[in-house]
Structure formats: structure tokens, C-alpha cells
Amino acid sequence: MDRYTILKIISGVLPIISIFLPLWYISFNAPMFGQQWLDIYVYGNGHIDGPLHQINIANHYVGLKDITLEQLWELKYLPYLFLAIAAVPLISLVKESWIWIAAHLGLVLSIPVYIQVWLYNFGHDLQAGAAIEIEPFTPYVFGYYQIANFKILAVLHVGFWLLVASFILSFVAYWRFYKAE
């Protein structure tokens, strides 16, 4: 097998591995939790791990909606997105084109973009009649920041960086071994 094919195959395998790894991680601390940080992990398979219940209790005072697994319907389709990302470099083996590279990049980037949009809506879609009224706000998909009494650390986790690696391998294969010929 030539290097081009090898790179494309690895590029196609990485997203499948990352389905089982944490995609995004967000951690909260507020004075009411003492030294403890509440960690929430979102996995590529759509699984969420963490004390959502405790976050919801803290959130309800300011009219933030309960985060429940039923309400997060997108998560059910997350594994298919990963499979789609895995499929792109494999399809390109049949017929290579810059379109596949662009699609690969677009699909990978759609994840943080979607999370960011979701966070924006979450912070702006406040329930009327909450006990404490606050200004709408925007949490970030990546970074360390503070909102009211909450310290928040958000990180795109290893699952996402495997998707980035998958794109880079596919792109290198295209640029060095396909276009160069």
C-alpha cells in the first residue's frame, strides 16, 4: 500500500475511535460546592457523564432551563456525524477531490460551532418569571471564564482533537501525495 492510502485509512479510523472518547468537557465551581468542581463530559456516542442534576438546581434560580438527556435530541445523532467524518476520507480513496477535504473540515468544525450556538441559546433563552432576573449571557465552548458566582472551564477534549488529526492526515495525503503527483 502506498503512503497516500495508509494516511487515508488512518484518517478514516480515527473518528471511529473518538466515538468512545470524551468530545467536550465543561467543569463548574461555585462557592456552594466548596473545593469541588463538577465535571461534565460529553462523549462521541452521545453519552453525558456528570452531575447535571446539581447544575440544574443551581441554574433554576436564574431561569436557565433544565438540561435533560431527553431534551438533548441532537446527541442521538452524534455517532452518525462521527461515522460520516470517518466515511469522507475513505470515499475520497475512490475518487479524490478537494471537495472531500472541504467537507471533512466543515464536518469537524461543525461540532464546536454547534455547541457554541447551543450555549448561546441556552444563555439567552431564559424562562420568564425566574426568581432572580439576570442579563442573558454567552458561555463559551472553549476557555476559562466566570459568570456570576460560577467559575467555568470548557475544553474541547481528546475526541475532538482526534477528529482534527483525522482531517490533517487526510489533507496531508491529498496535498503531498495526491496533488504533488
Binding site: 460546592f33 466548596g34 452531575p51 442534576h53 446539581q54 438546581i57 434560580y61 426568581a131 432572580i132
Partner: protein, 692 residues
């Protein structure tokens, strides 16, 4: 030339060189000595701001040292837990060492509102009911001797046991959630002191009675029933002491009377008890006083008890072969009395379960050294501690060397046959504990001091065994003392707490009833030094156990729906009525002749659901209250005005509240534990509609 000198050096130091060097050294040393004598060595200087604080507060170097040894900054944790009795508060106190911070009061024999203990929480009401004596609902207790569960005689930090002297009860407290799981009333015993003491693997918790109770021959003592006129003759014939070995099951947290046994004892005042390990495994020891069998009678021409019970120079150390007693019970040689298998005094003598050894004079304390070899008794009215040797005891019993029998026929060993040493320590020696270096420490009530002495081999291997090593004055009137994990094979040394009965002038005056004074003493060096005075404004703490903090493994949140009072296989059972958010409801139906309103309620920051409960006058109301929080500290408390109801529901806990809505009206209920910014709004109403 130089070569020549080198050669000569190789052959050895020349005499002249040596003399010059030696002279130089001597002169230098002398000069150095003179200089060092005349010029003070540089004193280490503290930063000015620290020195200023010391000056402003008028602290001595000893104070500063003590402060540095005891200060535990916020957020840092203590080295040891002290589990102290709360005396007649009926509670137990948890204290951190060396900071001496109070961490918790645990309600045991007395209702306590903060923990919602005995104020409507059905499980706690049931516990107090079960612990009552059948003639009265008891809400008083006098906690004396705590004990910690053991594995191979070493404290394992899972359970704590505490006795109630006043009403002869024993409680088991889980050291996972620091709550009482069971209380048992000790049959045939009116009051007890003997402490809780655990067998090496906590199969039994043993303790002796204190003041003997009247026994109907073959039937024992029954509160409110058994009666004989109090005369000296009747006292000898009908009054009896006892020691009970209560079976305990760690997996359920319950005592089991059906597997327990009791040994009938003469009507002496039995006092402190301990169960041995190592060479003393299988044996229990129990001291006594008033072998005079005096009953007082100051208005009837008799001496008061304090005089008439102190006439003899010796009382009796009870030596009990408990493993053999267990065997005797298995063979069926017992009489069932009030729900427990009793080995009668006659059987105990006949089967050679019980022996006495003389002990001077109205003693106190009964403690075993780390090796399990020495049993140490404080003389109380005799200024000595007596150290018994289990090897000698076993030998004397095997050789049947007795000096005679007591009034009831119990064989009495010879004092000189069974003792290793008698050490004169100070006035009023009460109680001994031990460190990790083979030393004993005895509290001397009358001379107001703690005296340190050496034991013998194998505990102490120095060349001055059984000698006083040091003494320190305490403030004031010390009762018991406690060192970490003493009376076990692995005492830790380092600290000693003197449990002083009087504080007199040690704290700011607060009227006429003064706090007790716990004094923390550093015993890590050769000399003891005082570190800290801690006021205890709650009952009269009697005795305490100290255990390494790393052996205590508490939970901080219950698993959701847990019933803290039902333990299954060491974990919490799910409360049968536990619910989650969305399952709340109210149902009213008839149970026999009674209307019952049942409420499935949740508590979460910051609301009870439902927040309006409607029922009818005369209804039995049962509220199954689930705290569905999973956050540490998110405890809610539920109280109803005018109803004397107060329940604490810790995160994850489900509890049952039961009461009769006997008066019509509308009553508010609210969360009593400040939980959130909307805590004040966490409230609701109980509507009791008048009966048609």
C-alpha cells in the same frame, strides 16, 4: 630540601609538628570556649510583625510553641478524631485533634432538634421507644464509655458504641454517617458503667452493670416489677450485678439479644470492663467496689455509702473467661431471663468462668497494655496503680492457687501471685492509658496531675520498668484521660487529652454552671507539655476514644432514596417510599378505623413538593420526604409550626414523618436548614379541616 621534608612526612608525623598542632588546637579551643561564654550565641529573630503580636498578646515561648502545635488552618484537617461521651447530654461529641475543634454532636439517647432526632422522624422515634424500659418513654441518657469497633483487636473506625449509665442501654453509631443505628436495653441491668468494650473482632460488645438491681431468683430484674424490701440481708440475697456480652452484626448495624449472653455477678458495684487480646485473648476483666455490700442509710443510723463502701483495703478484680462462657451457653447451661441467656453465678463458679483477684481500694479504670499482657487498675483511694500480669493470672488459675472464696463462693486469687508491679503514682489514680513506647499515663484526680510511668516487657524494654517517668499538673480534677488508640495493640502516642471535671478559673466566667475542661497534652517527648484548654459546655463528658483520622471513612451524601436507619450488607437500604421529582402525590384512605393521609414529598432547593397538604382533623399523617439533592451540605430540614415536629433530611435521604393532625387549623411548615438564596421561600401549608 622539600623532597627531604616530604620523605620524612611519609615516615610519620614528626614529634615537633605534632606538639605545635596540639598546642594550637588547645589554645584555639580555649579561646573559642571563652568567646562562646562571653558572647551570647545569636538568637534566631522572628519577623518583627510576628514578634509584635507575641508582645502585644503577652505570650510566652511555651504559648507560641503550643499554638504552633495545635493550630490547624481552615481547610486543613486534623490528625485524629476524638469520640467523646457527652455525659448527661445523652449525646456523643466528635472533636478534631490537635485543633480541638468540635465537629459534631451526635444525638443518641436524647431528642436533638438539629439532627431531627426524636421530633417526628419515625425511625428515630422508634429507636427511642425501643430503648425505653417498658414503663416510661425515656428521653434521658448519661453517656459514659465510647468504644470503637475492632478487627484483630485494632480499632477499625467503622462503628462506635456508647453506653447509657442511667438506664443501662447500649447504642451503635455508624462512623460512616455518624448516626445511631441501634439502641438496646440491657436486660436484668438497671444501670451500667462498665463501658462498651468490644471483643477482638467486634463479635460482642461487653459491659458490666453499675449499681446492682434486685433479681427475682431464676427470673432476673424487670423494671417496674421486681421488688424486694431494701435491707442489708435482702441486698446480699436478691440484689445482683451482671456483665453482658451483646452480639453485634456489622452488616445490619443491629444488636442481637438472641445471640447474646449474660453472666450473673455478686451485688458488688461492678465498674469498668475490658476484653483482652494476644496473651489475654478470651479473657475479660472487670473491676468492682463496695464488696462491703453496704447500702447506705444515713437517716437510719448507718454511715453514708461513701464511708461504708470504702472500709475494706481490697475489692475484687473480676477475671472472666468469656470464650468459655460462650461455650457454656452453647452447651445449654443457661437460664433465659427477660430475653437473654444468663449464666447463673453458681454455674459461673462451677464451670470456672469467674475468678476474683484482690485490687486496692475502691479502684477505677481497667485497661490493657498494647502487648495484651498487663491489666492496669487505678487505686483511686490507694495512691498506686496495680499492674496485673495475664501470664501470672493464667498460671495461678492453672495451679489452683487461691487464697479463699468470696461470700458467694467465687475463688479469689492471691494478690502477690497475679501482680507484676504496684507503682506509687499520686493521689486518686483513676484511669490509665498507654503510648506507643511502653509508657502508661494515669490520671490522678486528687493531686490534679497526669503521671507517666513505664510498663514492663514486652511493652517497655528500657532498664527502668515500672517507674514514674514524668508528671504534669492539670486544671482541674481530672477524671478519665485518653491517648490515641490506647487499649489496643497499636497505641499511637503523641497526644493525651485530660478530661477535667472542673475548669474553675481557666475560662471567662459564665455564671455558676461551668464548662468542663479538656486539656490537650503533648506526650511525644520525654517531658509532657500542655498545649490547649478546650471548654466543653455540654453535659459531663466522661471518657473518649481517639482514633487516627485516616481510619475514619465517612460518606458525605447518601445514595438517592437511602433510608439511613436500615442497613443491608453494610450499605443503606432504599427507603420503600423514596420518590424522585415528578412522583409527588397525596392519598387519603382508611386503615382499619383510622383515616390516613399519606404524602409523598420531595425537597430540593428551594421548594417542598407538594407545598400544600390538606387533611382532616384526626387523620394520621405520614409524610415520606425525599431530599433529592446530590450536593454536599444540601441538607433540608422540615418543621411544622405548633406540632413539635422537626426533621433533618440530608442530601439523598428519604425519611418518614408520622403524626396525628389532632387539631384543626392551617399551619405553616418550612425548611429550617438555610439552604439557598430562596430558603425563606421554601415553605408551605398544612391544612387540617375540622371534622364534619
Amino acid at each position: 630540601m622539600s623532597k627531604k621534608r616530604n620523605n620524612s612526612r611519609k615516615n610519620g608525623v614528626r614529634r615537633r609538628d605534632f606538639l605545635v598542632a596540639a598546642g594550637g588546637l588547645a589554645a584555639g579551643a580555649a579561646a573559642g570556649y571563652i568567646i562562646s561564654k562571653s558572647v551570647a550565641p545569636p538568637t534566631p529573630v522572628l519577623p518583627t510583625d510576628i514578634q509584635n503580636i507575641i508582645n502585644q498578646r503577652g505570650l510566652s515561648p511555651e504559648h507560641v510553641t503550643a499554638a504552633l502545635k495545635t493550630y490547624v488552618p481552615g481547610g486543613m484537617q486534623d490528625e485524629f478524631y476524638m469520640i467523646s461521651s457527652g455525659g448527661h447530654s445523652g449525646q456523643v461529641i466528635i472533636i478534631g485533634i490537635p485543633s480541638m475543634r468540635i465537629l459534631k454532636y451526635i444525638a443518641v439517647f436524647t431528642p436533638e432538634p438539629w439532627q431531627g432526632y426524636g421530633y417526628g422522624n419515625k425511625a428515630t422515634m422508634n429507636l427511642l421507644e425501643k430503648a425505653s424500659n417498658g414503663i416510661r418513654y425515656l428521653t434521658l441518657g448519661d453517656t459514659h464509655h465510647p468504644e470503637i469497633s475492632r478487627t484483630n483487636a485494632v480499632y477499625d473506625g467503622e462503628w462506635c458504641f456508647i453506653g447509657d449509665k442511667l438506664n443501662a442501654r447500649k447504642a451503635a453509631i455508624s462512623l460512616k454517617d455518624f448516626r445511631v443505628k441501634d439502641i438496646v436495653r440491657l436486660p436484668n441491668i438497671q444501670n451500667q458503667h462498665g463501658g462498651a468494650c468490644a471483643s477482638p473482632n467486634t463479635e460482642y460488645i461487653a459491659c458490666g452493670s453499675q449499681f446492682p438491681a434486685p433479681w427475682e431468683p431464676g427470673k432476673g430484674y424487670k423494671p417496674g416489677v421486681t421488688y424486694y424490701p431494701l435491707t442489708e440481708a435482702n441486698y446480699k440475697d436478691y440484689w445482683r450485678g451482671a456483665t453482658i456480652f451483646i452480639a453485634f452484626d456489622r452488616n445490619t448495624g443491629k444488636f442481637d439479644l438472641s445471640r447474646s449472653f449474660e453472666i450473673e455477678l455478686p451485688p458488688y458495684v461492678q465498674d469498668l470492663e475490658i476484653i483482652g487480646w494476644g496473651p489475654s485473648d478470651g479473657w475479660a476483666f472487670l473491676n468492682s467496689f463496695n464488696t462491703e455490700m453496704a447500702i447506705g442509710g444515713t437517716l437510719e443510723g448507718k454511715d453514708p455509702l461513701e464511708i461504708s463502701a470504702s472500709q475494706r483495703d481490697f475489692d475484687y478484680l473480676h477475671i472472666i473467661n468469656w470464650k468459655k462462657a460462650e461455650q457454656i451457653v452453647r452447651e445449654g447451661k443457661y437460664v433465659e431471663m427477660n430475653g437473654v441467656k444468663v449464666i447463673t453465678l453458681d454455674t459461673a463458679i462451677e464451670e470456672e468462668i469467674l475468678f476474683f483477684a484482690p485490687e486496692p481500694k475502691s479502684p477505677h479504670g481497667c485497661d490493657i497494655s498494647a502487648s495484651g499482657r498487663y491489666i492496669v487498675i487505678g487505686g483511686k483511694l490507694d495512691p498506686t496503680v496495680t499492674i496485673y500480669d495475664i501470664e501470672k493470672i493464667k498460671q495461678a488459675i492453672a495451679d489452683r492457687r487461691f487464697e479463699g472464696e468470696d461470700y458467694y463462693g467465687v475463688p479469689v486469687l492471691r494478690f502477690e501471685d497475679v501482680t507484676a508491679a504496684k507503682i506509687e503514682v499520686g493521689l486518686g489514680p483513676l484511669h490509665n492509658e498507654f503510648d506507643d513506647k511502653g509508657n502508661g499515663y494515669v490520671s490522678c484526680f486528687i493531686s490534679n496531675e497526669v503521671v507517666k510511668y513505664s510498663l514492663g516487657p514486652p511493652d517497655y524494654t528500657g532498664d527502668d520498668p515500672f517507674t514514674v517517668q514524668d508528671r504534669i499538673t492539670i486544671h482541674y480534677n481530672i477524671g478519665h484521660l485518653a491517648t490515641p488508640e490506647s487499649d489496643s495493640p497499636e497505641p499511637k502516642g503523641k497526644y493525651l487529652v485530660a478530661l477535667n471535671k472542673w475548669s474553675i478559673d481557666r475560662f471567662e466566667p459564665v455564671g455558676t454552671l461551668h464548662p468542663q475542661n479538656f486539656q490537650l497534652i503533648d506526650i511525644s517527648g520525654d517531658k509532657m507539655s500542655l498545649l490547649y484548654d478546650m471548654p466543653i459546655p455540654l453535659g459531663e463528658p466522661h471518657y473518649a476514644k481517639i482514633i487516627s483520622a485516616d481510619k475514619i471513612r465517612p460518606i458525605t451524601v447518601y445514595p438517592l432514596g437511602a433510608d439511613p436507619y436500615v442497613i443491608v450488607n453494610g450499605g443503606y437500604a432504599t427507603h420503600p417510599q423514596a420518590i424522585n421529582v415528578g412522583e409527588e402525590r397525596i392519598e387519603r384512605r382508611k386503615e382499619g378505623d383510622t383515616w390516613v393521609t399519606e404524602v409523598w414529598m420531595t425537597a430540593i432547593r428551594s421548594h417542598f413538593t407538594p407545598d400544600i397538604v390538606r387533611c382532616v382533623e384526626g387523620d394520621l399523617v405520614r409524610i415520606y420526604l425525599s431530599n433529592v439533592e446530590t450536593t454536599r451540605d444540601a441538607t433540608h430540614a422540615f418543621a411544622i409550626s405548633e406540632f413539635n415536629i422537626m426533621v433533618s433530611i440530608d442530601p439523598g435521604e428519604t425519611t418518614t414523618i408520622e403524626f396525628v393532625a389532632d387539631k384543626p387549623g392551617v399551619y405553616s411548615f418550612y425548611c429550617v436548614e438555610f439552604c439557598s438564596p430562596l430558603h425563606l421561600e421554601m415553605a408551605g401549608y398544612l391544612e387540617v379541616r375540622p371534622k364534619e
